[in-house]
């Protein structure tokens, strides 16, 4: 009975302490990024978003081409990973017996465990040569292209897409599925009339979260993208830039320039500014994905 008078037990105290510590560390990290990049925001203003030129020696810091590269590579990755991942998830959830589902799920999650530096190694020694030979007719300059990076990333985020799609699909109420089958629909009809419509928001959220992951990948992309600055495409909707080299926010940050920037206030703040932009992009996507998922949960409860 005595404990009733002291609700603040040690365990509670510690818990709050560590939770607060976590929050503090995260906030501090974000604030630091902002603080260390103030110089470049002042120097460039919105130019850093719209400027197509990045020449650190003349202190021109425009990240538009890198943002373009980041988006294109991530979207390419998604175009590969989305059909494959969702297809595989449909197969494991709807067609295969539960035992098989666990085996395949485990295998694909293993794919997620392969470190990005190993993917990079595979990319630099194998994939870029394949791409080079495959697109020979287009007179591509080398195997280091946005497409190479996109394909490599697609394989890398496949497990993320598959796992999250699996969660979304298996979250569809079993009762509804059984009811649909009871009405005489076969497994495929059930997928199109019940599972997919219900799981759609979850699937979209899965894709957005995977997109966020793709944008942040550094090492593998770094080794195969060519790291060519200022590759703003002449025409926005041409496919040509895909088989040219490019640069993403993360490949820029992983490169040698960060060491040159170290100790030079404006250049350094520009690099930190890039990581802040990257953070904003990814956080934005994650928030959107979570919002859609959360939103869908409520509607599905209503039904």
């Amino acid at each position: 009975m005595k404990t009733r008078y002291s609700p603040r037990s040690y365990i509670e105290l510690w818990s709050w302490l560590f939770a607060a510590l976590t929050l503090f560390v995260l906030l501090a990290g974000a604030v630091l990024l902002l603080k260390d990049s103030v110089l470049v925001w002042k120097h460039e203003g919105t130019e850093i978003l719209t400027g197509k030129e990045w020449f650190y020696r003349s202190e021109t810091f425009g990240a538009a081409a890198m943002i373009y590269g980041t988006l294109i590579v991530a979207v390419l990755a998604l175009l590969i990973a989305a059909p494959l991942g969702i297809g595989a998830a449909i197969c494991t959830v709807e067609y295969l017996p539960a035992r098989w589902r666990m085996v395949i799920k485990t295998m694909i999650e293993m794919l997620a465990g392969i470190p990005s530096v190993v993917y990079g190694l595979l990319g630099i020694l194998i994939l870029r040569n394949w791409i080079y030979q495959l697109f020979e007719d287009f007179e591509i300059l080398s195997g280091d292209t946005l497409l190479t990076a996109g394909i490599l990333l697609g394989v890398m985020i496949l497990p993320t897409v598959m796992t999250l799609a699996d969660d979304a699909l298996s979250g569809v109420a079993r009762a509804q599925r059984i009811a649909a089958r009871g009405l005489g629909l076969n497994a495929t009809d059930t997928i199109f009339s019940v599972s997919l419509p219900q799981a759609l928001p979850g699937l979209i959220a899965a894709l957005l979260l995977a997109l966020g992951r793709a944008m942040g990948e550094t090492i593998a992309v770094f080794l195969v993208i060519g790291r060519q600055d200022n590759q703003w495409p002449g025409e926005l909707f041409s496919l040509r830039p895909l088989v040219e080299s490019g640069q993403t926010l993360s490949s820029k940050l992983g490169g040698a320039e960060i060491n040159i920037a170290y100790g030079q206030p404006l250049h350094w703040s520009a690099m930190v500014g890039l990581s802040f932009l990257l953070l904003l992009l990814v956080v934005g996507l994650t928030l959107l994905g979570l919002w859609i998922r959360e939103h869908s949960k409520h509607t599905s409860y209503d039904k």
Binding site: F18, L84, G87, C91, G113, V117, A187, G216, I219, L253
Partner: protein, 304 residues
Amino acid sequence: MTNREKSHTKNPSKSDSKSRRKRRLIHELMRLFTGFCVLLSCCLLLGIVSFIVIRGLGALSVDFLTGVMAEVGASGGILYQLLGTLLLLLTAAVVVIPLALGCALVQSVFLTREAHRRNITLVLYLLNGVPSIVFGIVGMIVFVQWFGWGKSWLAGGILLGLMILPTVCVTLIERIQAVPKKYIEAARGLGLSRAQTIRSVILPQSIGGLFTGLLLGLARAAGETAPIMFTATIFSGATLPSGVKESPVLSLPYHIFILAQDSYDPATKAKLWGSALVLIFLVFLLSLLALPARLRIHEEANHL
């Protein structure tokens, strides 16, 4: 197979036979397509793994694991790269355990308002999305610049620990929420305080989730290069650290990263694949260790 048989048992009248055929066609096409997806995904995994095994197996030996790198990677082993990676993982585990316990208990026990709980989950998801290179940059600002640590194993461990916090924490939260309500009610009914309930019921029931999450998180941390390359690891010469400041370690991912860009001697390449194989083996080992516990969760979920 069973699915097809089932779909045949309830057949509509014959006037629908055309649409039935169409439906069956779609059904078969779907099965084919999704089956192909599964097959391709699995082939990708097997292809990649077997490729690395084939290339790397030749380099693998006891000497490779216990030897020190020699001739700039062309001969010798990867002892300190391996030990360095293990030390980083251990540090990350030590850092993440209290943080994950704290966050998970606050989220699932101490917070009573649903909105607050959801905010914590949101923060965890956001943290999970933060690109690893951003951890590296922040780490460089904090540890290298502010604290003046130079490159230090502790900085790398802390960064990796924070990076895997969401994985560990979410797994733990799931397990805590899976503790049957009646246990908790019974404990409260017996007059146990909240703290006592946590100690005697909730934690013993869910501590497995902490270790499962930890193994999964560490599997991810083991292969990360970006957060540690500016903050914790160097190319050669470091052994085991004896302090914090200016005490870098070697690590497998950075070793591979550097040698993939700079290796004069062709003999280095074989060693390089060997290192990649060891790294993958380490990662798979960690996630396989977590497997039994995870399968049990899924089985339970299916039975409920």
